[in-house]
Amino acid sequence: MGSVQYWLVNTLTNTEPVATFMRTAWGWPIIESIHFMGLTLLFGSIAAWDLRLLGLTKRVPIDAFHRLVPFAVLGFVINAASGSLFLLTEPDQYFYNPAFHFKLLFMMLAGLNVLVFYTTVFRRMDAFAVGDDVPVQAKFAGAASLCFWIAVIICGRLLTFYRPFPCEGDEARALFVRCLL
């Protein structure tokens, strides 16, 4: 594992032209803002779908809500792309960061949940009846999705506080004070 991280960090550090752009005054803040918009789009769209599975808006046919899922995928693509720019600039801040390991774990669990959902219970939901409850397995998938994405967001926001070199950079606020004082 150690050598995998070492190889990743060595391979990805300062990938050009990404790193030059990210180190401009506006690079990092703008990509971070886009990353937050992506998370909002991803979470909002998938939450509306998950809440339909859980029965909140069950008067509406389920396939009407399924039209929101591509926007969750769009949010994910925006965040995979913007997130990659961070990794291509400062990989050591992520690959040696336990919060990042947990973030990846919850992303994989969320992905696995999607995979299992679409290959099993979703195939049996062909009736799409108005006002019907979905099978209990689909409700579990909806609840799991909400939990996993909330966990992904929390781990993402905690990255700052578990960075391997906390005294560098400008946003590790609690640590910032301790490092300077």
Binding site: T40, G44, S45, A48, T57, R67, L68
Partner: protein
């Protein structure tokens, strides 16, 4: 001018705990919850705005009123966590014009959300003309994009961190 107030606030036990506690449940988790509140409130609002713009057109507009309790939850989580973050670094936020820009954008976006939710009050009946609700939905998305960007920039644009420094 407000330095005595900032100095007093920064010296309170809560403010000091927020800044100096090594517990993950101090600054880090409160910051993370601020993002969860954002995801719930703005995420569901964005889904509503997309619907107003014609996405998933078979969802009756009135159904989005079912998210109102969750939107309130997201809003209150962010009011409370926002005040806690403000208490930790009052000088940092309150001496930064970007912070007031953020508050203004959030206020405008919330007012628009209220107008749009009122417009779909009677189930599927829409009291706002479609072109107007589309324009307001675009404005809502623009305001939230601005508010999120301004919020993110708070980490980069402050001129002072603490009044005591």
């Amino acid at each position: 001018m407000f330095d005595p107030f900032f100095l007093w606030l920064e010296a309170t036990a809560f403010s000091t705990w927020m800044r100096e506690s090594t517990s993950v449940f101090a600054f880090p988790i409160i910051l993370a919850l601020h993002t969860i509140g954002l995801a719930i409130l703005v995420g569901l609002t964005a889904a509503f705005d997309l619907r107003l713009l014609g996405v998933a057109a078979r969802i009756p507009l009135g159904e989005f009123r079912r998210y109102i309790p969750l939107m309130w939850l997201g809003l209150w989580v962010n009011v409370v966590t926002g005040l806690a973050l403000l208490a930790a670094y009052p000088t940092k936020a309150l001496t930064n014009p970007v912070f007031y820009l953020k508050l203004g954008l959030v206020g405008a976006a919330l007012w628009l959300l209220r107008v749009l939710l009122d417009g779909v009050r009677d189930g599927a009946t829409v009291t706002l003309p479609p072109t107007r609700s589309k324009r307001l939905a675009i404005a809502s998305l623009v305001f939230w994009v601005g508010a999120i960007t301004a919020g993110r920039l708070l980490a980069y644009t402050h001129s002072r961190l603490l009044a005591s420094w």
